[in-house]
Amino acid sequence: MALVVLLGKLADLAGASTLPLPLPMSVELNWETLKAALPPALAEALDDPRIRVAVNGALLPNKSKLQAGAGDEIALLPPVSGG
């Protein structure tokens, strides 16, 4: 299993603040296979270039190069709110 954590309005789109993704240990997730595993409305929103991704608490410089698998926490981070 991998855990997708949804912040801000992405949690609304997903209907939850976390989404467990059942995954065999052998499967690698990349950006495209992650999106395919998510609800379509959420997946569509994720290509917004302002949305950042962190794997196990580390921000990815380039989310399209995502590599994750079972046991990883993938956080989807929309732009933070202003004052």
Partner: protein, 148 residues
């Protein structure tokens, strides 16, 4: 003296600033900013979400940058998370320094970066409905002041 915290309950800034001031003997000045949930805007409640693995380390990195940039003796940076109501403090930043310019500028710097670059997501409840708050242009111009 460095005190960086996320708090999920209501807090009284005076309870933090008194001990913080006392923890920095020999200081020349203490500058403090306290932000509260505004009550003039029809907002019934405010909710701040954070992502623990990024938010607290981000605040510590911001503190590192403030210590590197200004001549500080101490820095207090406390941010509420969770559900808040109008009149409750959201944020308290306090800087102690030998000279007032360092103290005042450090608070200004931390506030600009906390508001715009720290990992918080805010939503407001108005007329019973929740709305996410988007980034504001003002915040970007506040940040650009520090890039010279």
């Amino acid at each position: 003296m460095r005190d960086i915290r996320l708090l999920d309950r209501v807090f009284m800034p005076g309870m933090l600033i008194g001990p913080f001031t006392n923890a920095n003997p020999g200081l020349g000045g203490v500058s403090t900013f306290v932000g509260e949930v505004r009550s003039d805007t029809g907002v019934e409640a405010l909710e701040l979400t954070h992502y623990e693995p990024l938010t607290l380390p981000g605040m510590h990195q911001l503190a590192d940058r403030a210590f590197a940039r200004f001549d500080l003796m101490g820095l207090l940076m406390v941010h509420r998370v969770g559900l808040m109501h109008p009149g409750e403090p959201i944020v308290c930043v306090s800087a102690a320094a030998l000279h007032r310019r360092d103290a005042i500028n450090a608070v200004d710097f931390c506030m600009d970066h906390l508001k715009s670059a720290a990992w918080f997501w805010k939503r407001e409840k108005r007329d019973g409905e929740w709305h996410w708050i988007e980034p504001r242009e003002q915040d970007h111009s506040d940040l650009s002041r520090w890039q010279a």
